[in-house]
């Protein structure tokens, strides 16, 4: 008899709730790794090659902790993968090797990847991997798992957007977060039916709206770009969105699970063409990861009237390091402040907060100066 399988997947932001449901619908046990903390980071960093990029180390630490704590289970470790050109291409084989070397044999690594050209090879390859990932199921179960997970992802993102809208506007500090936490848990544990999820979402959005807050205030706007994983995982980016929101900023993240999936997997062509057009003169070829997106989104943020952009750069990430250099030109040409923040296990909370605070002060001043000029009225002068 085959051993019972438990799934473990990369934990990323709040989306883990949806992935849990996905595997549960397929009838598997699933363990969500802990959010990054000192223990997972220590494991990840000390067992990775030093030159690997930071997200690799983070995830390795998360997987290691799960394996250590459950020696009696057999795991399928889900890992995303692309064929490069950055280090993303090596993630799975390297995990397999490191975990084996550490003496674990109760796991296998399964990975998902996009459909790569040529299509006649890409599509069969995609399905082969998919079957390896989720096993054989009736088509309906498979479709349902994707559908429900998709809905949950969508619902959570709606709640998150609401949260970041409310925090800088709330009257009582912490009230929006409280409402959000409750709403998130309800979606997390909502029955796996589309109708139920929709209902809970609408109810909770309304409830969040009733948090006492001020409407119609114009706040400085900051866009976030950078490497997808770090950007979307609050436990690794030191909750940059929340921190900015609490500083009185309207914050917008450029990458979400939904638009990432849409752009990268479903509407790849349009996305690429759009990107080439926007990035003209800066970067016109694929450098891996999300480097091109970082540049495109910075330009788009400027066009949408944002006051500043923060780039989240995992230490050791090639695409983002390239993007960082180009972004300093974009920043100058388009007259938009860009702050690049590099993250690794030593990133101290203190230096991090100092930088984002100073950045926020800076864009507030810039904004005040602009408003002052346009309307030629005196804004509370210094």
């Amino acid at each position: 008899m085959p051993r019972k399988v438990t799934y473990v997947f990369p934990r990323m932001g709040y989306s883990y709730a949806a992935f849990e449901s996905f595997f549960q619908i397929l009838g598997y046990d699933v363990i969500t790794p802990e959010p990054s903390n000192s223990q997972t980071l220590k494991r990840g960093v000390s067992n990775s090659p030093e030159g690997m990029c930071f997200p690799f180390k983070i995830l390795l630490g998360q997987f290691l902790k799960v394996l250590e704590e459950n020696p009696d289970k057999y795991f399928k470790i889900v890992s995303l993968e692309s064929y490069g050109p950055c280090r993303f291409g090596y993630y799975s084989p390297l995990y397999a090797k490191i975990l084996k070397d550490r003496g674990f044999d109760n796991f296998e690594i399964v990975n998902v990847e996009g459909i790569y050209p040529p299509w006649y090879r890409g599509i069969p390859r995609f399905f082969k991997k998919l079957i390896k990932l989720i096993g054989w199921h009736t088509p309906w179960t498979g479709v349902k798992a994707f559908l429900i997970a998709g809905w949950k992802v969508y619902a959570i993102e709606q709640l998150e957007r609401k949260l970041y809208y409310l925090i800088p506007r709330e009257k009582i500090v912490g009230s929006a977060e409280k409402a959000f936490n409750r709403a998130f848990e309800r979606i997390h544990h909502a029955p796996n039916k589309v109708k139920a999820i929709k209902e809970v979402l609408n109810e909770e959005l309304k409830r969040m709206d009733s948090v006492k807050h001020v409407e119609n205030v114009e706040l400085p706007k900051v866009g976030l770009v950078g490497e997808a994983y770090m950007l979307m995982d609050y436990s690794n980016n030191l909750e940059i969105e929340k921190k900015l929101a609490y500083m009185g900023v309207d914050v917008d993240r450029s990458l979400w699970v939904t638009n990432w999936t849409l752009d990268r997997i479903i509407k790849t062509k349009e996305h690429l063409n759009h990107m080439l057009e926007v990035n003209k003169g800066y970067l016109d070829f694929f450098i891996g990861g999300d480097g091109q997106e970082s540049i495109m989104n910075t330009i788009l943020y400027k066009q949408k009237g944002f006051d500043g952009v923060i780039q989240v750069l995992p230490f050791g990430c090639l695409p983002e390091t390239v993007a960082k250099q180009i972004l300093s030109n974009v920043s100058e040409d388009y007259d938009i402040p860009v702050l690049s923040l590099s993250f690794d296990e030593q990133t101290g909370e203190a230096g991090f907060i100092t930088r984002i605070e100073a950045f926020v002060d800076m864009i507030k001043d810039r904004k005040a100066a602009k408003v002052g000029k346009k309307k030629s009225t005196t804004v509370a002068s210094q």
């Binding site: 903390n37 929101a245 230096g351 100073a358 001043d365």
Partner: protein, 353 residues
Amino acid sequence: MAKKMALGIDIGSVTTKVVFVDEDDEVLEGLYLRTKGNPIITIKQGMVEAYETLRKKYGEFEVIAVGTTGSGRQLAGVVVGADMIKNEISAHAYAAIREVPDVSTIFEIGGQDSKIIFIRNGAVVDFAMNTVCAAGTGSFLDHQAERIGISIEDFGDYALRSENPVRIAGRCTVFAESDMIHKQQMGATSEDIIAGLSESLVRNYLNNLARGKELLPTFVFQGGVSENIGIVRAFERAVGHEVIVPKNNKIMGAWGVAMLAKREIELTGRSTNFKGFKITELRHDTRVFYCDGCANNCEVYEVIENGETIAYWGDRCGRWSNRLTSKVNTHRNEGYSSVNSVIPANHAKDDAR
């Protein structure tokens, strides 16, 4: 009538600055102290010392606003009761702009970190900060002075006397140090070595922080290391332009935040949170622990005053900080106060229309 003053405190890991300003933002008393191990004790010593001097000079006085900055700003803010807790970049820039209104580039080198701030039309437009590498900071110079066996105060004069500064290689302290020893053994004079060291420090600083950025005059150089005339000259040579060392150069951060706090109080009409000089007699302890409430495993900081906890921070969910209802500026309140300051500013705009 009692004289009105604002207090600014800048706590770094190596030095602590305590400043009192009058109603015209002029510095009445400014202290530059070593943060010896315990930052809270250092602040208290500074406050007591300043209090006595000020009492002698001005008799009765009243503190109307308090600001804190530096890496220990939050702790200091909680202990003294601050009205404004500001990052060091904004505080330093504010003071520099007050002193040299047409400044475009600020070099700041302190005991343990260094920063560069770019200003256009009196507003910060860009900045960079180095907190990881000690190569370009005061601690490094102190250490080298000790090694060569001269006092750090004489460092600058030595550098000025040098006729051929030796070139000291080094992206990092370790290399710089070994190269220096080597040059010493080769018979270079202390003067030339010190001058070489000054140039290497400036080169490192500019390489790290100003890479690819346009350096425009007017230049201002501040922070503890700006006392050192050798480094000032090295900067001037590197940028090919005069570099101004403003008055109050060593205490700019504390001065800036004192002014900012005062402005905040004036704009909002609130009264100060200052707890009074009595805090110098209270006992304060700090504690760091890992919360095991959930997998986040937050590193939580606790500040205890006379046996009673007055602040927590570092807890992501508010499990600890929500237990306290005090008005002190913990991280969360800090966020709140900036939200507050945005809203009145908007109302102000509405009125103006």
